[in-house]
Amino acid sequence: MSTTTKSDYLLLFRGNAWDRGLSPAQLQKVVSDWMAWFERLKAEGKCAGGHPLEEQGKVVSGKRRTVADGPFAESKEAIGGYFYLTVADENEAIEIAKQCPGLEYGSVVEVRPVAEICSVKQRAEEYSKRELAAARA
């Protein structure tokens, strides 16, 4: 997946009602800019793919595995889509996120490094090492 010189980042686009109140001309510009941005990143080899997500989904939670509708469509936090980036470093991922055409209209872009190893597994391994060290001491 990653090499020694490149790292992977996920951009999560939050706020899926940014189009409310925009004129048709403004909207056309944002979606055209967005498509051009995605095409350019793919052509530059910096974006391996991306997808919009359907607004209505389900949220599963709890010991009883309850299923609820969600997330709420008109939420600033709701994730509306994502890009998968392969770039040099975090700074490059942030610079790309800053180019998102929806930012001007209230979108928020979350930039997250893709981890090699699950953080829970990592913590479990560190915990076992500490326990072993304590047992030896």
Binding site: Q28, W34, A36, E54, K58, L103, V108, R112, A115, C118
Partner: protein
């Protein structure tokens, strides 16, 4: 797409308990993989940034992974229906430890085009390449 929320569910579990849960998670994941249900899956690192404002002038640390809402990883599932995806989500072993799983259908095209049928599907500059952009996103 399954989004796993609440990445710090392991707090307070003993090593033995955690080992048992992780064994179940790995078995769950491998079972799905063997059935060809997984198109991609990754855990996400804890240190991220939130970018907002015109030209992305606001850059702050986040999200706080201590929160139950923070996304700790994702799985792109090959499912025949939303119901099947929900059933897979319901079988995730860490649900009983406080995570939640958001199940979202992946779209071929941005829902903006459904809400605004008057919009033309064209990128700003590269007009020579007619209309492939958002449909390719589903490829």
């Amino acid at each position: 797409m399954l989004l796993f929320r609440g990445p710090q569910w392991d707090r307070g579990l003993s090593t033995d308990e955690l080992q048992q849960v992780m064994d179940k998670v790995i078995t769950w994941f491998e079972g799905l993989n063997e059935r060809g249900k997984i198109k991609g899956a990754q855990p996400l690192g804890g240190h991220g940034r939130m970018i907002s404002g015109t030209d992305g002038r606001l850059v702050v640390d986040g999200p706080f992974t201590e929160t139950k809402e923070a996304v700790g990883g994702y799985l792109v599932l090959q499912a025949d229906s939303l119901n099947e995806a929900v059933e897979v989500a319901r079988s995730m072993p860490t649900l009983r430890h406080g995570i939640s799983v958001e199940v979202r259908p992946i779209l071929a095209e941005c829902p903006i085009f459904q809400r605004h049928p008057e919009l033309v599907r064209r990128p700003t500059k590269d007009a020579t390449r007619a209309e492939p952009a958002l449909t390719e996103m589903a490829a």
